[in-house]
Amino acid sequence: MKILVADDSRVMRQIVIRTLRQAGFGGHDIVEAENGRDALTKVRSEAPDLVLSDWNMPEMNGIDMLDALRGSGSTVPFGFVTSEGSDDMRSRAERSGALFLIAKPFTPETFEAALTPVLG
């Protein structure tokens, strides 16, 4: 399976990739995107099985990217990995079609619980 990790921080993308490995998802292919616009392009070109995206990013933020994906008919499984996890944001994410929202800082156990239903 292929996982697209979208975050404007290279450090955070590496933390997410390291945590995926620690949570037992190390065998999957990883594609990285630097912002929402880059991720939107790569969802189309790379056809990932799951998108893990930050919320606050320059160029295009995560929620606008998700809305653009759903607006174009994409049903790719999508989860947020973000430093903000308010009830409002969780509701907004769910309304737009996100499966989950993981708040930073996170642990491998959090990833395992959120991603296992998607990746098995």
Partner: protein, 153 residues
């Protein structure tokens, strides 16, 4: 060591501790300081809402490089990586502090600087937490910029 106490201090300490044990894989957020260099690298985020607040993090150049090296698993991180590492750490801290404040509010993208973040006299320092990571001192500060008064007053 906590050097300035406030009603938020316990929460901020818990937030720093969570970051230390998860992303920084540290057993403890305190311990002996080996690095005595001055704090010449800083990063900050701003929370805007009913309470406007700056959350900043300051540490030495040596510590900033060590943090980036650890987080990226590279021996020699680039200057951009060092700024990115500090920015992401303060971004995560800011997101957690934001959850303690009344909403709705928004979190800025992080800004990193060489030197320390200075504050005007109108800003109130709420909490100062001096944590230690791998022998390096890392200071986390929250400053209230302004706060809405009670409604109807």
């Amino acid at each position: 060591m906590t050097v300035l106490d406030s009603p938020m201090t316990d929460d901020v300490v818990a937030i720093v501790e969570e970051l230390w044990t998860s992303f920084l894989e540290a057993d403890d957020m305190f311990g002996p300081v080996v690095d005595t260099d001055p704090d010449d690298r800083s990063a900050a985020v701003t929370i805007s809402g009913p309470v406007n607040m700056v959350v900043s993090l300051s540490t030495s150049e040596q510590a900033a490089i060590a943090l980036a090296s650890f987080l990226l698993q590279v021996e020699v991180p680039s200057p951009a990586d060092v700024s990115d590492a500090l920015g992401e750490l303060v971004n995560v801290l800011g997101g957690s502090v934001k959850s303690l404040l009344p909403g709705p509010s928004s979190l800025s993208l992080p800004v990193t600087v060489n030197g320390t973040v200075t504050h005007s006299a109108s800003e109130t320092a709420d909490t100062v937490v001096e944590a230690v990571w791998s022998g390096h001192r890392v200071t986390v500060v929250t400053h209230t910029l302004s706060q809405e008064g009670p409604s109807g007053s």
